[in-house]
Symmetry: D2
Subunit: 333 residues, 4 copies
C-alpha cells in the first residue's frame, strides 16, 4: 500500500471486520480503528459478520458518529461469524472481488488465531494489505502479552467465582468451575489465583502430572471445609464434570458440585484495560498502515505497541509462565 495514494484519492477505503468468537472490547477496537483512520485522512467501511460479509458484500461506511458511544459495549456492532466459505478458494476470490468493488485498499481483521490464519492466506493469495488485531478472550496469540477481551473475561470469571464461593463456604462444598480458554490455560490459571481457588486444572500442565491427584494429595480440605477448583474447558478430558465425577467416586463423603460458566464469559461491558488496549492497538493499526506495514498483528509487549508478522503470531504454543503455578500452589495452603 502506498499511503500517499490512499490519502489523496477520495474513493479508497480501509475495511474493518470482526471474526471468530466475540470478545468484549471489539467495539472499542472498531471505534479506535475508525476514528484514528478518519483522523489520519482515511475513510472506513465496516464489513458485517466477519469474512462472510466480505464475500456477500454486507458493508456500510463507518463515520465518527457511527462509532460513538460503543466503547463501553460488549459484543461487536459489526457482528461476527466463523466463515466456512472463506476457507475455500472460491470464497476468498469473491472476498477479493468485493474489496476491489468497494475500493477497500487495506483490511483490518479483529479476531483470534483462526481469523488471522484466514487473513494470512488471503493476503498471500491476493497480495492485499491486511493488519490484524488480537481479539479473543483466550489470550493464546503468540507475540502479544494480552489480547482484547481477555481481561474482561478474567474479571467476569472472578466475579462469578466470588459468588459461587459464598455458596461453597455456606454449605461446605467442593465446586469444580469450568471456564473457557480452548487449548490455553490463561483464564483458568489466572482466575484461580485471583479468586483464591485451591487448584487449577489446565492444558499446559496436563502432560506433567495428574493435577487432580496433586490437589488431593496436597490434602485438600485439611484446613478448609470448602474448595474451589477451576478447570479449563477441554474436549479431551471432559472438563469439570469429569473431575467432579472422579472425586465423587473416590471421596463420596464430599458434597461436590459443578458450575460451567459458559457464554456469559464473552460479553459484558469491557474492563478499563481492554478498552485502553483496544484503543491503543486500534490507533496502532492505522499507524502501521501509515508506516507501510502489512500482514502483521498489532500487539502489546512490555506495555509497548509492537508489530508481529502473522506467521509468528499464530504459532502453536504461546509459552506459559510456570511461575504462576508456583504462586497458586503457595497461596492455596
Amino acid at each position: 500500500m502506498t499511503t500517499p495514494d490512499t490519502k489523496t484519492t477520495e474513493d479508497k477505503y480501509i475495511g474493518v471486520l470482526t471474526s471468530g468468537g466475540d470478545a468484549s472490547g471489539m467495539n472499542a477496537a472498531i471505534r479506535a480503528v475508525t476514528r484514528s483512520a478518519i483522523f489520519n485522512g482515511f475513510k472506513v467501511k465496516g464489513i458485517y459478520r466477519g469474512y462472510e460479509g466480505l464475500i456477500t458484500g454486507e458493508i456500510k461506511e463507518l463515520t465518527t458518529e457511527t462509532v460513538s458511544n460503543i466503547i463501553q459495549r460488549g459484543g461487536t456492532i459489526l457482528k461476527t461469524a466463523r466463515s466456512q466459505a472463506f476457507m475455500t478458494p472460491e470464497g476468498r476470490k469473491k472476498a477479493y472481488e468485493t474489496m476491489q468493488k468497494e475500493h477497500i485498499v487495506a483490511l483490518i481483521v479483529i479476531g483470534g488465531d483462526g481469523s488471522l490464519t484466514g487473513a494470512r492466506i488471503f493476503a498471500e493469495e491476493y497480495n492485499v494489505v491486511c493488519i490484524g488485531l488480537p481479539g479473543t478472550i483466550d489470550n493464546d496469540l503468540y507475540g502479544t502479552d494480552y489480547t482484547i477481551g481477555y481481561d474482561t473475561a478474567l474479571n467476569t470469571i472472578v466475579e462469578c467465582v466470588d459468588k459461587i464461593r459464598d455458596t461453597a463456604t455456606s454449605h461446605d462444598r467442593i465446586f469444580f468451575v469450568e471456564v473457557m480458554g480452548r487449548d490455553a490455560g490463561y483464564l483458568a490459571q489466572n482466575s484461580a489465583i485471583a479468586s483464591g481457588a485451591e487448584a487449577a486444572i489446565i492444558p499446559e500442565d496436563r502432560t506433567d502430572a495428574d493435577q487432580l491427584e496433586q490437589f488431593i494429595s496436597r490434602g485438600f480440605r485439611k484446613t478448609k471445609n470448602s474448595s474451589i477448583v477451576i478447570v479449563s474447558e477441554s474436549p479431551k478430558d471432559g472438563g469439570a464434570m469429569h473431575y467432579a465425577d472422579r472425586v465423587k467416586k473416590e471421596y463420596p463423603q464430599y458434597d461436590v458440585r459443578v458450575s460451567i460458566l459458559g457464554h456469559l464469559q464473552r460479553g459484558g461491558s469491557p474492563s478499563a484495560y481492554d478498552r485502553i488496549l483496544a484503543s491503543r492497538l486500534g490507533t496502532g493499526a492505522i499507524e502501521a498502515l501509515l508506516e507501510g506495514q502489512r500482514n502483521v498483528l498489532i500487539g502489546i509487549r512490555n506495555n509497548q505497541v509492537v508489530y508481529i508478522p502473522f506467521a509468528e503470531a499464530i504459532k502453536d504454543d504461546k509459552p506459559f509462565d510456570k511461575s504462576l503455578i508456583k504462586v497458586l500452589n503457595e497461596l492455596s495452603i
Copy 2:
C-alpha cells in the same frame, strides 16, 4: 414465652439459624436479628449449619461486633444445611434438649419452605417459640410479597443475560438460559421481562399450553436475528437443554445454544432491596417476640411488615400474577 422473664433473666437467649439453600441477604438478616435483639435487652446465640447445629450443639454467642461488616456479604456466616436428622423424632428431641441446655427460649429460623415446615413441626411437638424469616431466592412463600435473596438473584440473572445477549446479537443466535426457582417461575418470568428476553418458559404456565409452540408460532426471529428464552429449571421436562434440543431438531437452520446459570445465582453481595428487607424483617422478628407472637413467618405485604402463621406460609401454591405474562408478550414483539 413471657417476655419479661426473658428480659430480666440473664441466661435466656434467642437462637438464630439459617437453613436450606443459601440466599444473599441471610447475613443481613442475622445482623438485624442480633442487633435488634440486643437493642431490646436480649442475648443471642448463633446456631451453625441449620438444624444440624441445633442437634449437635454447634453454637456460639453473637454480639453486636460479631455481626459487624457482614450486611454486604453473600452466603451465611452461620453456614446452612438441609438436615436429614431433624426430620426424625430423635433428631428433634436432641434439638430440643440443646435448646434447654443452651437456655434458648426462642428460635428464629431463616430459610425457605422446607425449613419452615421443620420449624412448624418442631414448635408443635415441643411447644417452643419459633419465628420464621423468609430466606430463599425462589420467592415461593405464601403471604409475603418478597423473600430475602430473590431480588439479588434476579439482578444476578439479568446481569448474566445482558452479557449473553452481547454474544447472541453478535452471532445471531438463539440462547436458552436456564435459571433457578424450583417449582416457582418468579425468577424466570421477571428476569425475562427485565432482560428483554423474547419468552419465558415457567412452571405456572405449563398446564395452559405449550409455551415453546406459542413462542415459535408468534414468529420468533421475524424481526430479530437473535433471541433469548429464559427457562425455569424443572426436573419434569428437562429444562433449557430439552427446549434447545426441540428447536434444533425442528429448525436446524438456527444456531441454538444453552446456558445454565447454576449456583452463581445464589451468592454475591445482596442488593439494596434485600438488605433493607432483611433489616426490616429481622427487627420485625424481635418486635413480634416482644408482642408475644409465635410460630409466624415475618413477611412483607404492601410494603408493611406482617405476621403469617406457618401453616399459611407453606401452602402449596403462591398465586402467580398472570399480568406479567401479558407484559412479556407485548414487549417481546
Copy 3:
C-alpha cells in the same frame, strides 16, 4: 380520546417524552410504551428533549426496532430537559400546535413532579389526553410506592458506600456521604439501612430534632472506630459539608471526611426492579388509554398497577414510613 378512532385512522399517533432529571429505566419505559402501543394497534412518535421538543417540533417516529436493545441502558434516548418555555402560555400553545400538526392524540410524559405539573396544566388548558409515568430517582411522587429510577439509584449509592466503608474502616474515619433526593429522604434513609450506616440525616426528620446531636449523643464510635453518616442533599442546611464541619469543630480528635456522590447516582444500567417496573407501567399506560383514562399517573401500589389523578400525585408530602427510622436506630448500635 375515543379509542376506536385512534385505532382505525392510520395517521393518529401516541407521543412519548422524557422530562426533568434523567433516571435509569426511562429507556425501558420508552421501549414498553412504544411496543405496547404498537402491539395494540397504535403508532408512536418520540418527542426529544422533553417539552422543548414538543414546542420546537423535534420529533421522530418510534418503531419496534428503534427501541431494541435499550432496556439495559441508563439515560434516555429521547434526551430530557427542563423547559422554561413550556411554563409560559405561548410555549404551551406552540406545543399544542405541534401535537395537532403531528397527529399526536395522546401524550405520555415520563418524569417527576415538575413534569407532571406541566402535563396537568397543559391537559386542562387544551383538553389533550395526557398519561404520566413516574420517572425520578427521588421516589417522591404521591400514590405510587416506587418511581422508575429509584431502585437503581439506591443500589448505586449502596455500592459507593460499600467502597467508602473500606477506606473508612482502614483509616478509622467518619465519612459524611451526601446523596440526592431533593426534599425527600427515601434515598438517604434506605441507603443508610442498606449500607449499614450509623445514621441518616433526612429532611422528613429535620423538624423533629437535631439528628446529628442524636447520633452523637447515642455515643457514635463507642464500639466502633469508623462511621458512615448519610446526609440527604438540602439547600437549606448545607448538606454533608455542613455536618462534617460541625463535627470537626466539636470533636477535633476525629478524622472526618466528606463524599458528595453527585450525578453518578442518576445513570447506569437499570436494576432488574426498575426495568420490570418501567415495563409494567409502560404497558399500563397503553392499557389506561385503551380504557379511556386521561390525566392520570400510572403507578404501582401493593405490587399492582394503579391510576392516580395528576392532582393527587403531585401533592406535597408523600408520607414517610417512620418505622424505617426505628430500624436504622436499632441496627446501628
Copy 4:
C-alpha cells in the same frame, strides 16, 4: 538476613504492615505474603495501622486461616495510617525496639512512596531488612509498570464515568470529572481513554500548554452535544471546579457540571489484575527474602517480577508515556 537462622529458630517472624492511603488489593497482598511465608517455613506477624503499630506494638500473629477469604475485599485488615511519629528519630527508635521485642527479623511494607521513603530511612538507620510492595492507586512508583490498587481504581472511575455519561448525553451537558492521582496523571489519562472522554487534563502535560485551550480550540462539541473532561486532582490549579468555572465564564451557553469522585476510588473488591499482581508480588517478596535481598521494592516489569532498590523506586518522575496523549487526541474526534 541469614535465611537459615530465620528458618530454624522458631521465634523469628516476618512482620507485614500496610501504610499510607488504602488501596484495593492490599488484603490480597497481605494474604500472599502470609501464606507464602508460612509455605516457606516462616511465621508472620501483622502490624496494625502502618508504622504506628510498629511504634505502639499493636501486633498480632497471622496464620493461614486469618488471611482466608480476604483476597476479594477492599481496604486492609491491618488498617493503615500516615504516621507522624515515624518521621521522628524517637519514633523509629521505638519501632526498632518493637521489632526486637517481637522477634521480627524482616519487615514487609505495603504502600506508596511516602511509606517506602520511611522504610528506606529506617532500614539504613537500624540495619533492618525491609522489603517493599507497591500499594497505591496512583501508579507513580518508578521501576514497576503497575502498583497494587491502580487497576481497580481505574475500573471504578470508568464505571462512574459510564454512569455520568448517561446523564451528560441525556441533558447535552459538559462534565468535568475530577479523579485522584496526586502528582501523577495515570488515572486521569487512562480513564479518559477508557471512558471515551473528550479530554484529560493531567499534571505531566501542564507545562507543555494550556490543555483546556487545546480542548476548546479543537472544537469541542462540534460534532457532539455532550462532553466529558477528566481532570487530575491538583492542589495547584484547583482541579475540576477551576476548569468548569473557566468554561462557564467563557462559554455561558454551555450546561457545565462538575463531579468529584473522591474516596470511592480507593475501595471496593479488587479487580482480577490487582489480585493477581498482589499475589505475585507477595510471593515475590518472600522469594526475595529467601534470596537474601533487602531494601528493595518488589515490582512488575514486562510481566516479570523484579527487584527495585528503594532509592530508585521513589525517584521523583516516573516517565509518562506520551503516546497515550496521541491516542486520546485521535479517538476524541
